[in-house]
Symmetry: C2
Subunit: 111 residues, 2 copies
Amino acid sequence: MEQLSTLKCEACAASAKLLSADEIELLLPQVQGWKIIVDSGIQKLKCDFATRNYTKSVAFTNAIAEMAEAINHHPQIILEYASVTVIWWSHNIKGLHKNDFIMASKTSELF
Amino acid sequence: MEQLSTLKCEACAASAKLLSADEIELLLPQVQGWKIIVDSGIQKLKCDFATRNYTKSVAFTNAIAEMAEAINHHPQIILEYASVTVIWWSHNIKGLHKNDFIMASKTSELF
């Protein structure tokens, strides 16, 4: 199976298809620590990263932001004193695309 | 009445008293756009700032983080593409201290 973190996230069109439950079931074990949440009916991919202190939290947030901006796909990032929570989903298709798993994998690698 | 943004936020002891409902009612009109939320029984002060783009969101997040670190009082910051949500409360007293209103005021000024 191809390794997610080595794949490229490409902008997905509004007509792109959401991942099926079967596809999600196959991809989820490849992004350790990430779980599926449902927020206002939208499936999202969430992970809490425990950091040692605020400086680390801010640095990690900026590293994710830089990656997000480079690829033009932006997660929600919740910055706290000793944790950073990252939530990926595809806004234009209101749910999960393979891109989100690629970005989740790259986020974990960055951490 | 003293202007909140000119006051200094000082570390509050675990024995510090939570603001009373009357005190909150007096302080809230001084921080325009901020509202009280209750999260797991803890009163917090929340504001959504609409930014024009991701670069602005990231810059604002970093400005808040720098202020927070300097004063050693850290909010929750939710960074999104075109918005930054900031939530202040005092962790050690599990609720709102005058410090949180001071920091909310300084956050709005920073924006």
